[in-house]
């Protein structure tokens, strides 16, 4: 016998965002401080031993408490998204003409709801694929298997369903994510630098999209030279199509196999939402080119955009009213510095 659940998605989203921004931000960063202090205290000499503190235990129970709360919030957002996208009455009835608003309270079969929420709980993969959807809009496939229309910025009031992070080395590129970063930059004008060292136009012919929407470099690229790094897009006159073309050129050059240390790196954050105004799935891809300092191995943003917190570290998925968000992995032994004048 099937059972049904009902909810007001807006109520669930409000509940998911209940933790104040300063608390969420503190719980994101303070554990680093605690871990450091615990380690320092454990190294300290005690004669006689007055108190035994187990650093691992203290960190474990803290992570469990933080993770448990975040898991509850995330599930609320995903349940709300399921109601918004698949709940009874969530979408305009077929053939209905005229002003229409979905009812506040939606219902949904529990089996469908279980399936929709469970789809987010599988192993997180950094492999993101793209396609051109209806009307030619680019779409990115979410971890739940659904397609999300790429948009420039998070919808007002929307909470993130998930975020996928990826750092791409152009000497060993993951084509899908490289493409995402540069489509973003081309679409949004996320940079202010002029185009720089774009691949020669003849390089474009060697890169093709396969059936899945991935750009594929052919074996012919071996004979090409220049540039030594992928194109930097951002000239306001560069159209989306041109931008994609230049990305292809950059990929072709990258595919030739450049020195990993000298090649540009791209860090991307793809964040998935359901727009509460339209109940449509959308995604925002942020990307930035980074380079590694030869001496310190720090990752330094050279162009593009990434959300960062007040400490200059990449931030987690932003709540609508804060700038806090999840800590991306930039790479081992690296930190991310954001130049003062980026945007």
């Amino acid at each position: 016998m099937s059972t049904t659940s009902s909810a007001d998605p807006a109520q669930l989203e409000a509940a998911a965002a209940a933790v104040p921004g300063d608390v969420a931000s503190g719980l994101q960063w303070e554990p680093d401080t605690l871990a450091d202090l615990l380690a320092r205290f454990a190294r300290g000499e005690q004669v006689p031993e007055r108190i035994s503190v187990d650093p691992q235990h203290h960190m474990d129970i803290l992570r469990a408490a933080i993770g448990g709360g975040e898991g509850i919030d995330a599930e609320l957002v995903r349940v709300a998204a399921a109601f918004r996208t698949a709940g009874n009455g969530a979408t305009r009835p077929p053939g209905f003409v005229g002003p229409w608003m979905p009812p506040r309270i939606l219902s949904m079969d529990d089996a469908a709801l279980q399936s929709a929420v469970s789809a987010w709980l599988g192993p997180t993969t950094a492999d993101v694929s793209f396609r051109k959807g209806a009307g030619g809009a680019w779409e990115v496939r979410g971890p739940d298997g659904n397609w999300f229309r790429m948009v420039d910025s998070p919808p007002p009031g929307a909470l993130p369903l998930a975020q996928v992070e990826k750092t791409v080395d152009f000497a060993n590129p993951d084509f899908g994510m490289v493409l995402s970063a540069f489509i973003l930059i081309g679409l949004t004008g996320g940079q202010t630098q002029p185009m720089d060292r774009a691949a020669p136009r003849e390089a474009y012919q060697y890169v093709h999209f396969d059936d899945q929407g991935y750009p594929v470099a052919g074996p012919e690229v071996a004979g090409l030279s220049q540039p030594v790094r992928p194109p930097v897009l951002g000239d306001a006159s560069v159209s989306k199509i041109e931008a994609i073309g230049m990305v292809q050129g950059g990929l072709a050059e990258a595919a030739k196999g450049m020195s990993a240390r000298n090649a540009s790196m791209v860090h991307t954050q793809t964040t998935f939402y359901v727009d509460p105004r339209t109940n449509q799935r959308v995604a925002v891809v942020d990307g930035a080119q980074i380079r590694y300092d030869n001496d310190t191995n720090d990752a330094i943003v050279t162009s593009g955009r990434l959300h960062v917190d007040g400490r200059g570290r990449p931030s987690l998925v932003a709540r609508p009213d804060t700038n806090t968000s999840s800590q991306p992995s930039i790479g081992p032994s690296t930190t991310l510095r954001i130049p003062a004048k980026e945007d």
Partner: protein
């Protein structure tokens, strides 16, 4: 003769104080997060069905576990401060003993 240095009472006083403050700070943050989620759980009256029931159960379990962590952190912070105080008392006693013997 005084007490050999290796036998004198020792305690990482400075880092113990910082650690106690940090534990209290995190306990406070967890406490506020717990309160916010508990309140939020009372503000979803239209969420009904098996999923809603599971959410409320899970929330209750989380709040209990997280509350235990808050209590644990505050307890350890208090123990650290007590240990610092005890260290200062012991060190003062040592100094008095040293002075008397000298």
């Amino acid at each position: 003769m005084g007490i050999p240095e290796e036998d004198r009472v020792q305690f990482p006083v400075a880092v113990a104080g910082q650690l106690a403050d940090e534990l209290d700070k995190l306990a406070g943050l967890l406490d506020r997060a717990n309160q916010a989620r508990a309140d939020a759980g009372n503000r979803v009256p239209d969420y009904r069905g098996a999923f809603a029931d599971a959410y409320h159960r899970r929330l209750g379990t989380h709040l209990t576990a997280s509350g235990d962590t808050v209590a644990r952190y505050r307890s350890v912070a208090a123990q650290l401060r007590a240990a610092v105080d005890q260290h200062h008392r012991d060190r003062a006693a040592e100094n008095r003993q040293f002075s008397a013997s000298g």
